[in-house]
């Protein structure tokens, strides 16, 4: 199957609707076919990205509601709004929904799908039908998981640690099976992106002229393809253990309770980079566009994505320093974890360096870039702190860890997700939003996020363990502060939902409001169905080349 033969969108014939006149016979992908079927059965990567966006945002809302329920319950030391069993299910579902249904697909499946072919000058991804399949596999898995949640939910925590998960009477199997199915969606998308990056680059786009978002997606896809089978296998094992009582993790029958943790973190540690590497990629694009500069140290940023993806596979033991693993193992995993920090530091320095001698326009996406820098540095450094073996003895499984991963994994990813949403909103819909509201909500979200999780770092220092329904009274003040911050955060999201919906309908029409020289902006906004009209664009310059053509020779290195 050649890619070009498969990208004709089914549905209405193009070009017969009056308001397409600006593109003549090449209507934008949004209106090229307006039937429901033309959306549901589309093989157009852009439409698939938009459909992903709908579902992913819906699950983000569900996960967010669970988060607010948790924060409300923790307002008082005793029972507040729910009983212990409901609370245990709530934090489990918060984790499962946010990680498997929101964070993992968020940036790759929405923005990766939409932008990857545009950034490579391709008409679509390498396997468009597989791309559509991955969406439906994702929805099938989500359906299974939701069914399990509605039928009682499970109370194991999103980590599903055995032997507890093998014994609990709650509905473990359907949710795990749902996550197992979603894994296939992840693998399909990953494979598709890898093949696309290898085979679909337009003439002129060499490996080291690929936009850094593509590099990040490439590294992410490698992790998805290599690590997801392990969690798939493991989730099946636990489901089987739970349903048929096999004894795989039962010591009394020769099983091993800690085996689960090794297999689980072998996937779930790299999975952190599945979530955060695309975020790094988005930020490389955003900082270049808004400071009108080529990225400082392009190769360093590109290689460090691959470096993180590689080292990420050998750091899983740092989740298990106090699980009884040997001191020697703890040393190896502790040292390797430091390398992840070094790769991340390289990226941070290069992003800040990009601004040097640039021309900064402080817009909403750039505001999120600032928030992102803070969360990445503070969250990343606290990651180094918990990877320091002796300190982790005290911090392990306390709120310090909760705050740390919400900073680096969630904070950085949410910042990048919102930056991408605002930065590419004109690209996807050809319209723009109200900049003032954008900045207000960005400020609310960044402040709210800090107000939610900085008290949790302190709670962790004070010794409050994770997953506590009730807690000693001395922890109350900080918990109240954290809940107050969460309300601020929720409020920020409501504002975004309102003005973006408004912009979708009434927003001012724009094409490239940022004057960006990223490759994806070379075509119209919104792009036509086949991405480009007329002859194949050429790519004589690297992406984000803002040098005055009159003095285009490269100046001295700094």
């Amino acid at each position: 199957m050649t890619p070009s033969s498969s990208i004709a969108a089914p549905g209405a014939a193009p070009g017969h609707e009056a308001h397409h006149d600006e593109h003549g016979d090449h209507p934008s992908y949004l209106v090229d076919g307006t039937t429901v079927k033309s959306w549901l059965l589309t093989v157009d990567h852009k439409r698939i990205g938009i459909m992903y966006m709908f579902w992913v945002l819906l699950f983000f809302l569900v996960g967010g509601i669970f988060a607010l329920m948790i924060r409300l319950e923790l307002l008082t030391p005793g029972p507040t709004i729910m009983d212990a069993m409901t609370y245990n299910r709530t934090f489990t579902l918060h984790g499962v929904v946010m990680i498997f249904l929101f964070m993992i697909p968020a940036i790759p499946a929405i923005f990766g799908n939409f932008m990857l072919p545009l950034m490579l000058g391709a008409k679509d991804v390498a396997f468009p039908r597989l791309n559509l399949l991955s969406l439906y596999v994702y929805l099938a898995g989500a359906g299974f998981a939701l069914w399990g949640m509605l039928n009682g939910g499970l109370d194991t925590g999103w980590t599903f640690y055995t032997p507890y998960s093998a014994h609990t009477t709650t509905t473990v199997a359907p949710v795990l099976f749902g996550a197992f199915i979603i894994g296939f969606s992840s693998i399909l998308t990953g494979m598709n992106f890898i093949v696309t990056a290898h085979t679909m680059r337009a003439p002129g786009i060499t490996w080291f002229k690929m936009p850094l978002f593509v590099w990040a997606l490439y590294a992410t896809s490698c992790i998805q393809v290599l690590a997801t089978p392990v969690i798939g296998l493991l989730l099946l094992l636990v489901s089987a253990e739970n349903l048929f009582n096999l004894g795989m993790f039962d010591v009394a029958r020769g099983g091993d309770p800690v085996l689960f943790q090794h297999l689980f973190w072998f996937y779930s540690h790299p999975a952190v980079y599945i979530m955060v590497l695309p975020a790094f990629g988005v930020m490389s694009e955003v900082v270049s566009t808004f400071s009108r500069k080529n990225i400082f140290g392009y190769r360093a940023v590109a290689y460090s994505s691959v470096g993180i993806a590689f080292v990420g596979f050998f750091a899983w033991g740092h989740h298990m320093f106090v699980s009884g693993q040997s001191t020697f193992d703890a040393g190896i995993f502790g040292a390797l974890s430091m390398l992840v920090g070094v790769f991340t530091a390289i990226k941070v320095f290069n992003w800040v360096g990009t601004v040097y001698k640039g021309a900064v326009e402080f817009t909403t996406p750039f505001a999120y870039f600032c928030g992102f820098l803070f969360f990445t540095v503070f969250g990343g450094m606290t990651g180094i702190a918990v990877a320091t073996v002796s300190l982790d003895v005290a911090w392990h499984d306390t709120y310090f860890v909760v705050a740390h991963f919400h900073f680096i994994m969630v904070g950085a990813t949410i910042m990048a997700f919102l930056a991408a949403l605002h930065y590419w909103f004109p690209k996807m819909f050809g319209k723009t939003y109200h900049e003032g509201w954008g900045l207000v909500s960005a400020a609310l979200i960044i402040l709210g996020f800090n107000a939610t999780f900085i008290p949790q770092f302190l709670l962790g220092n004070a010794g409050m363990p994770r997953r506590y329904y009730e807690y000693p009274e001395r922890f109350q003040a900080l918990n109240v502060a954290s809940t107050a911050g969460a309300s601020l955060l929720a409020f920020g999201f409501v504002i975004i939902a309102l003005y973006l919906t408004w912009a979708l309908i009434y927003g001012k029409r724009v094409d490239n409001p940022w004057g960006s020289k990223g490759y994806e902006w070379l075509t119209a906004s919104p792009p036509p169905t086949h991405n480009f009209v007329g002859p194949q664009p050429t790519y004589p310059e690297e992406p984000h080349f803002y040098v005055d053509p009159k003095k285009a020779e490269v100046s001295d290195a700094v």
């Binding site: 400082f296 001698k357 450094m381 180094i384 990877a387 994770r466």
Partner: protein, 348 residues
């Protein structure tokens, strides 16, 4: 200085040699984190202002880093991170290597309580007595799912795994009572799986443990004395078990350690109970009998005054039989003699 830092960081008081050892690294790492985040943030802010956009579609210079800059980007964080790793790993090795002369205590986690036993007795639930300034090695295991033994003031934590022993050690530095929390999610009452470490001055501890062991001996002699007078505790306990069923005791009191409407019978005898009015009481024959006849007299903290009186419903020998039954329900890991040691070889 370090007291101020402790307050600012909300760290609990330091009460073990391990805490003394690692808190400095904590300040170092957290301090550097703050300085670095502020540094990157301020540098970024400065540049956002210094290099703000002046004209639309402004062009810029093409700037790339040279080798020296890239080398700095890699080496500065690497030096810091490796230094922390080295200090941290040295302390961790110290933490995983108990001194030879440390005193052993066996710790068993189960849903949702901690049991402690000393090689030569006594055994306790949810309260661990240790001497100050002597190393104590905990040999930790679990009866059901994974738990984790965490004492914030000591900065120590170790998972309790079913079917395996893990070990942790500490040397408490000052007498006092310190909270133990379970830090591995273990089900419904995970957040109620609390215990405490009572650190005593060494001489107080020696007195305490002697009394505990003598008390136990005394009990045994009493029991022997009883046996010579009455038909035999075993048969009495058997009779008590039947009575507990027919009289409805077991509707509210479990015999497997789980909490129900009333306190569990398992391990109740000889336990120190905290009462609602703040006092403590040792559960002995007198207290059990009183609780049957006048249940509201001493309510154990955390329970409601809902038990009906059995005054007139139970004859003297019957209530004695129930007491014997409760006495027979010592926790399974009660050991009268010397410890048999762990089922698995402890970690060397």
């Amino acid at each position: 200085m370090s007291d101020l830092a402790n307050k600012l960081l909300f760290l609990p008081e330091r009460a073990s040699t391990f805490a003394d050892r690692i808190d400095f690294l904590h300040y170092f790492v957290v301090g550097t984190t703050m300085v670095a985040s502020a540094g990157v943030g301020l540098a970024a802010l400065f540049m956002f202002f210094r290099y703000r956009r002046r004209v639309e579609n402004q062009t810029t210079e093409y700037v790339v880093p040279n080798l020296k800059t890239e080398f700095l980007f890699v080496s500065v964080p690497l030096v810091f991170f490796l230094a922390w790793f080295a200090i941290g790993f040295r302390d961790f090795t110290w933490f995983t290597t108990p001194p030879k002369d440390s005193m052993d205590v066996y710790v068993m986690g189960k849903q949702w309580m901690w049991k402690f036993s000393y090689p030569e007795g006594p055994n306790g639930v949810n309260v661990l007595h240790v001497p100050a300034n002597r190393p104590v090695r905990l040999l930790i295991t679990s009866r059901d799912v994974i738990h984790s033994f965490f004492v914030p003031s000591f900065r120590i934590k170790m998972d309790a795994l079913p079917g395996r022993y893990t070990q942790a050690w500490f040397e408490a530095t000052k007498p006092g009572t310190y909270q133990v929390l379970c830090t591995e999610y273990c089900g419904l009452s995970h957040s109620k799986m609390l215990a405490e470490v009572v650190v005593m001055a060494p001489e107080d501890y020696d007195t305490w443990i002697k009394e505990q062991r003598r008390g136990r001996l005394q009990d045994r002699q009493d029991a022997l004395a009883d046996n010579s007078l009455v038909p035999g505790t075993a048969r009495m306990a058997e009779q008590g078990q039947k009575l507990a069923g027919t009289q409805g005791c077991l509707k509210c009191h479990s015999v497997d350690g789980s909490q129900h409407i009333g306190p569990t019978f398992l391990g109740m005898y000889d336990r120190m109970e905290h009462l609602q009015d703040g006092q403590n009481i040792r559960v002995d024959e007198a207290y059990i009998t009183q609780s049957m006849m006048d249940p509201g007299a001493h309510i154990v903290a955390g329970y409601q005054n809902v038990m009906p009186t059995y005054q007139g419903k139970l004859q003297g020998p019957e209530s004695a039989a129930i007491v014997e039954y409760i006495k027979s329900l010592r926790t399974a890991n009660v050991r009268e003699g010397a410890s048999e040691g762990p089922a698995y070889d402890p970690i060397q």
